[in-house]
Symmetry: C2
Subunit: 240 residues, 2 copies
């Protein structure tokens, strides 16, 4: 029963926030009667809700429970004053990503109106080898993670995406040496991603702080602000 | 099985983000063996996790699923650029609250270092009659909600909290007429809460935008900025 409920929730996505009961049943591989009964029970707990068009959505109660005790809330609260200040200077997009299932999961993002294209969304993911935040998490991550990612497949988003394992190894070594990842046009040719590690109490990298700015000569100028912000956040996390 | 899992999750709170298996079992009213089996299954789905001290916490996967399709994410994304701008001007605390189970649930908050005292937390709640965000949601809410809240009990946080039903009716009428709630020292004597409604597509109030500032003569000066910000957010939500 529990595994079926989990399957129902897994069907929702960034692009599919509302589904009919029969869509949910089909995508979760459950009989409609079973799905319908489960959905009714989950609606009664506030974990799912029915919208005005009778489609099913994630309930606010589930968000509340997940957020209240979320391991990312402490990180977010420590980082937010610094992220706001950085965003006021850099503009465009500033975001916070953590490692989840060999991908980057973005837990926070601030964007300015008219900012450069950015495929990231809050609670959205990006492949670890193609995004600057991902490369930071990979470069600072366990060697088993690195070997598993290097074994591929490594998707090319643009001709600039590094998909050759040998070149990716060099890029990871550079990222570690520099203390930041600089990815001009890796995911979209018009955008540059820059990211730095955030280190927790033990000195271990717990998240990546990244900016997405236009892919032009001015992009490198953001690096010092990003490095300074990461130091401020890491100090604040260690103090907290 | 599902109701037991829900009971386990309900045990976590803002002040209890990590619990041992036996604490979880006791608080959820479940036998330790049952709780332990459930916890193991939920850990395997990433919905719960064990921390370094073997205590159980909410898993990042649950946060991701809840956030991805959350009804509050669209609101938050529409509101965030405006909230940031308001926060840069007002300082202290700016927050976004929605109605949940006759209380205000805060889905977003920006705070400045050294800001005035504020009991609100993200994913935290406040009573609807005592907070400025709550009074806005109550004043714009259904009459059944109003009658149910007016029927009490109405907790006093300070001598300034309005707990007399007749006085509360007057305050709600004032809030509707003014288009904002102004609560000097209602929850803490040193702080003033001011909140305005955010209206969605249908013109219905979907959230309250609030600030918490020091309880002094300058507090009223924040009202125009708050009203202007609410208009910007509402227009942006209707356009989106």
């Amino acid at each position: 029963m529990l595994s079926r409920a989990v399957r129902l929730f897994e069907v929702f996505g960034v692009d599919t926030p509302a589904l009919t009961v029969s869509e949910l049943a089909r995508r979760a591989g459950l009989p409609v009667a079973t799905a319908s009964r489960l959905i009714n029970e989950l609606v009664s707990y506030g974990w799912l809700r029915r919208d005005a068009s009778k489609r099913v959505r994630i309930g606010v109660r589930m968000w509340e429970l997940a957020s209240r005790a979320s391991p990312t809330l402490g990180l977010r609260e420590a980082a937010m004053p610094f992220i706001e200040a950085l965003h006021a200077v850099v503009g465009h997009h500033v975001q916070l990503g953590v490692l989840q299932d060999h991908e980057v999961l973005f837990v926070e993002r601030l964007s300015a109106p008219g900012a450069v294209v950015n495929v990231t969304r809050i609670a959205g993911r990006l492949p670890i080898h193609a995004s600057s935040s991902g490369l930071v998490l990979l470069a600072c991550g366990a060697s088993e993670l690195q070997e598993s990612v290097l074994a591929g497949p490594l998707r090319a988003f643009t001709p600039n995406t590094v998909t050759e394992p040998k070149a990716l190894r060099v890029l990871l070594a550079e990222t570690r040496r520099n203390g930041y990842a600089f990815c001009a046009g890796f995911i979209d040719e018009s955008a540059t991603g820059i990211a730095v590690p955030l280190r927790g109490l033990s000195g271990r990298t717990v998240a990546a702080l990244g900016v997405v700015v236009p892919n032009d000569d001015a992009a490198r100028m953001q690096i010092p602000a990003l490095l300074a912000t990461a130091r401020g956040i890491s100090r604040s996390m260690r103090g907290g």
